[in-house]
């Protein structure tokens, strides 16, 4: 399953602009740094709630969002920090939300599993597995009815494919040719359960055919491959050709949630995937171009550390809600 021949890979990094590549790298590093810091804060006990993190999956969020227009929307899941940063939410509004502050992107009412910001094109994460799939189809239906040319990108995991909501939402998007990109981040596990246990044919992209639209399997740890696949998909959506299912093969470098030690993961599988880290791989390709210096990439990491440290300090001081806030925001 690690890198099947069928999956699409990207053009040579040389063919992309330096700034564009640096931007992708920067976002991926920012996400990784953010997640690592949040993990520490959580284990340390300073951060409340529970967390689902995306270390190792940075390329999927960044590659897809880089292919979207500002007016496009994404839906996400309980594992949405990376999607949020990739779609342009600020480190501060996210951290504030995770700390339950009123300055958070959801005023502290959503929390880690529901981060989002409509003004930046991200619906608060839907923590019901596959629950965001019909939503995204409905958003795309609105775009179609209003002929706005917008696209909805719907992030979900391999585990969501077994849910009825996937089946129903994807089928309606197909029969109505809705402009939605179904982005399946296939990290081989739904919680602790390996995909082989829940699907006879674990090639998620094949499912699209049953509904009569195009599916494609992509190396999800190659941000450029993800980007190019998403550009193609978005183009087809805007051209009215209907939805596309992108299966992005990737891997979770950390626990499913909280303090999960991942004992259910096979050691060799882990090592294989850890060797294919999306950030390291992009770094290698950048350096191979010749016009990036190691120091420059190190500086990127420095900037991320600094940005996040400052944000954490502010988040810890951010205003907490008062009892009065409990009753607000229920009805419009």
């Amino acid at each position: 399953m690690n890198s099947p021949p069928t999956q699409t890979n990207s053009r040579d990094a040389a063919e992309f602009s330096r700034d564009f590549l640096l931007g992708l790298y920067e976002k991926m590093v920012l996400i990784r740094t953010f997640e690592e810091r949040v993990k520490f804060l959580f284990l340390e006990g300073t951060m409340p709630g529970t967390i689902h993190q995306c270390q190792g999956q940075e390329a999927t969020a960044v590659g897809v969002c880089a292919a979207l227009q500002p007016g496009d929307f994404i839906t996400s899941t309980f594992r949405g920090h990376g999607h949020a940063l990739a779609k342009g939410l600020s480190v501060q509004e996210l951290l504030d939300e995770l700390f339950g502050a009123t300055t958070g992107c959801c005023k502290g009412k959503g929390g880690s599993m529901h981060v989002g910001n409509m003004s930046k094109g991200m619906v608060p994460g839907i923590a019901i597995v596959a629950g965001g799939i019909p939503l995204a189809a409905g958003m795309a239906l609105a775009f179609r009815l209003r002929q706005t040319g917008q696209v909805a990108a719907c992030f979900f995991g391999d585990g969501a494919v077994a849910e009825g909501a996937f089946h129903e939402g994807v089928n309606m998007a197909a029969i109505w040719d809705l402009p939605v990109i179904f982005v399946c981040e296939n990290n081989l596990y739904g919680a602790s359960t390996h995909i082989q246990k829940v699907m006879k044919n674990p090639r998620v992209a094949d499912r699209a055919a049953a509904y009569g639209f195009r599916g494609e399997t992509v190396d999800g740890n190659d941000v450029l491959a993800v980007y190019e696949a998403a550009v193609r998909a978005a183009g087809e959506c805007r051209a009215g050709k209907g939805p596309v299912l992108l299966e992005l093969l990737t891997y979770r470098r950390t626990g499913h949630s909280r303090r999960d030690p991942c004992h259910y993961q096979d050691k060799h599988e882990r090592e294989n995937w850890f060797a294919r880290d999306p950030i390291e791989r992009l770094a290698e390709r950048l350096l191979a171009r010749g016009d990036f210096q190691p120091a420059e990439l190190a500086a990127v990491q420095e900037r991320s550390n600094l940005q996040i440290e400052t944000a954490v300090e502010r988040a810890k001081q951010a205003p907490q809600p008062t009892r009065e806030d409990l009753l607000a925001d229920v009805l419009a």
């Binding site: 929307f73 958070g104 992107c105 959801c106 005023k107 502290g108 009412k109 959503g110 529901h114 989002g116 910001n117 409509m118 003004s119 619906v123 608060p124 839907i126 019901i128 629950g131 799939i133 019909p134 939503l135 995204a136 189809a137 409905g138 958003m139 795309a140 239906l141 609105a142 775009f143 009815l145 209003r146 909805a152 009825g164 909501a165 089946h167 129903e168 939402g169 089928n171 309606m172 029969i175 607000a328 925001d329 229920v330 009805l331 419009a332």
Partner: protein, 339 residues
Amino acid sequence: MMKRQGIAEALREGIAEEMKRDDRVFCIGEDIGVPGGWGGAFTVTLGLSERFPGRIIDTPIAELGFTGIAVGAAMMGMRPIADVQYADFLFLASDQLINNAAKMRYMSGGTITVPMVMRAPVGATGRGSQHAQSMERYFVGVPGLKVVAPATAYDAKGMLKAAVRDDNPVMIFEHKLLYGSKGARAEPGAVDATSDIPDEDYTVPLNQALVRRPGRDVTILGWLLMLHYSLAAANTLAPEGIQAEVVDVRSLSPIDYETIGASVRKTGRVVIVEEGPKTGGVAAELAAGIMERFGDSLLAPVVRIASADVPVPFSPILENTYRPDEARIAAAVRQLMKP
């Protein structure tokens, strides 16, 4: 000018008017716009697909999916009117309605509105236990969701229009025996719920109960079919010297305790009539809420008249026993009035 219409007709006209007024409004559901079809299970959208091409969307049989699609479209500014053919199927859609539609605004910190309408026909009508439930109980009290249950054509149209214009998700429960379905679609045991419908545009608020019949001795609370039975019971009781005040609860979430309270303070006696199992019904909330707010005005414990705690039986004899009727209501009132 006025015209006499039944609930199905009035809803149809109300939907058409709202679609004309606001091009963000569209309908989505099963068999609602098929040429040569029925306009939904109860003809409410009959003919609308010709008048509003592309805006009456027939779906596959996938309640969870098309409900989620309505929620997503509403989040993007559309104003979907979704419907399930029978309210019993709402169990399949309740995740999208309760976990998503109703919570979206709150969990987004008040930044999202979900202006969608869901219509659902309830009531036991000779179809057996899976096409018969009174589903109100499962949605009353869901924070972020409004719930109404119109008993007349006038209210059905006015509340539908108000619901379409409301920025929150609104559930409208309709009763199969009140649609006024005719000919091939006529329902045995149907009750006349027609009204004189003004030609002018109007809405009916989603948060107000209505006194349908004034009386000083006892307050009878009902909605949908049970309202009509309650009115009939009140008429039977009048010649016996019992003046029952009949209140159409109409708005089930939120509940209009002001109107209800005024009646309770006056009569001091309350009978709540509900179709559906007694345990855990909407009448429980009404009884508890009335006791909390107006307990001191109560001259006797609030009485609940509801169905037995059983699934809906098919056999007409059993179904009629299951459904509270005029006689049971009248008997309960007489009992309550006993000195």
